[in-house]
């Protein structure tokens, strides 16, 4: 019994310590961010390309099919109430407020987050970060901050593209396949979806972008510098980001409803 209590105590202390270190790490990243944004924007643009542009294919394919599924589900369920014309509104709310930011963040964690964590972890394992330190170059602003900012900028853009392609998928299924009136589909969406709903989606994707990018650079930077350690960091990036995104989604939805 005392063994279990001791384990709980040590694990709790370790959790608090790690959480504190994570917060300090976040502050360090934030402290260097303005200088990198203003002085070395080229580094950030490169990372927006790495994290964002290279994730476009997976985001667009996923968005198209998620939108298609929403079209099928929306049509079959709304048809019971003779409200199949509202399938556009149904899909728009679902995509813009929830599915767009959440699924994009999960896909981002799987595609860009793992790439970030493993890249930084390998840089550490192969002494590249130590070499930078020895060249009097601080790796936090030079390596971590551009990658963090790249992810933060890329996430809302990817979420917006996901939602747009998703709506296209819904249109293809509902209008082209199932015969919903195209005018009703788009007009009802235009009338019902408010700028506030779009802002909610943008805000969520921004928060998820911060969470996913921060977790990825933290895990990579703090990975054990071995092949196994980098592998673990990559896995933890996906798992922790997925949990964080879903928790934040609940909290933001609860506050903004």
């Amino acid at each position: 019994m005392t063994g279990i209590l001791r384990d709980i105590y040590y694990n709790s202390v370790e959790f608090v310590r790690t959480f504190g270190a994570f917060q300090l790490f976040f502050l360090r990243i934030l402290r260097h961010s303005p200088a990198i944004l203003l002085g070395r924007f080229g580094l950030v643009v490169k990372q927006v390309f790495e994290s964002g542009a290279l994730s476009l294919v997976i985001i667009m394919i996923s968005g198209l099919f998620v939108g298609g599924v929403l079209g099928l589900q929306g049509y079959s369920n709304l048809a019971r109430f003779n409200a199949e014309d509202a399938v556009g509104v149904f899909a728009a709310f679902g995509l813009v407020k929830e599915l767009g930011p959440v699924i994009t963040a999960l896909l981002f964690a799987g595609r860009a987050g793992t790439a970030l964590a493993s890249e930084i972890g390998l840089m550490k394992a192969t002494d590249q970060l130590s070499a930078m330190e020895m060249m009097a170059v601080n790796p936090v602003p030079r390596v971590l901050v551009p990658r963090f900012l790249g992810g933060v900028i890329a996430m809302p853009l990817l979420a917006a593209i996901f939602s747009m392609v998703g709506l296209l998928g819904t249109h293809l299924v509902a209008v082209e396949l199932l015969g919903v009136d195209v005018g009703a589909f788009w007009q009802q969406m235009q009338i019902t979806v408010d700028i506030k709903d779009i802002n909610e989606g943008i805000f969520k994707s921004l928060v998820f972008g911060v969470a996913a990018s921060l977790i990825a650079v933290w895990e990579g930077y703090n990975s054990i510098p071995t092949a196994e350690g980098v592998g673990r960091a990559t896995t933890r990036t996906v798992v922790i980001t997925a949990i964080a995104v879903l928790v934040f989604d609940f909290m933001i939805t609860a506050v903004m409803l």
Binding site: Q128, S130, M134, M135, A136, N138
Partner: protein
Amino acid sequence: MAELSENLIEIHDLKYSRGPRVIFEGLNLVIKRGEITALMGPSGTGKTTLLRLITRQLIPQHGTILVDGVDISTLNLSELYQMRQRFGMLFQNGALLTDLSVFENVAFPLREHTKLSNRLIRHVVLTKLHAVGLRGAADMMPAQLSGGMARRVALARAMVMDPEILIYDEPFVGLDPISMGVIVRLVRRMNDALGITSIIVSHDVAEVSTVADRSFLISDGKVAASGSPEELRVAQSDLVRQFMHGMADGPVAFHFDAPGYEEQLLGRDAE
């Protein structure tokens, strides 16, 4: 103008341990300005760790490390980075930045710390690459280089800022005899021509002996012997003789601590 001290790096009563394992205890060592100093010793004695302590990549639990009279453990981050601009370091595995070309790797410190024009940077980088025989590889990526080539590029990068102190961690590993000869001569020439102080960690007794002015043999967390390569070669200490002449028998055990060979093979150690 104050006269420069003869001792560039002084280590006093250094203690450093990793977990329960004591790496150094009571280590004292002086590296003289303008000399090539070799740090030698059996595997696992902490030679690379000592380099990391000298450059404050690690912090000792006890003792002082003075670089040009300054205790490096007292420096804040910006002072430390200023100090590190006086160092160049060649890492064991080269540690080239894998997302940059050979040219950009060598140009990296110049781009970060100077406002030189692209034309001047190109001139300096090509000069350094030429010195290590890899001017023709300027456009290649690190993944396209052999281990030896990567280390030569890393050497060019280490010297691109014309540092006062050049640190080489196992510089001769993976080099073919021709490259090794060129690099040994380059180390010597840079030291003599530019007045650099060099610190070399190496197992390669033969090569180090041709280039070092002074060698320190580290064992059991302390300096076991020091002197010129010639003095170490004729030293009577069992440890020094075993190491310098590569003998299997001596105070340094070849085998890591283990139960008896026969007992373990017959499974008696588990009983």
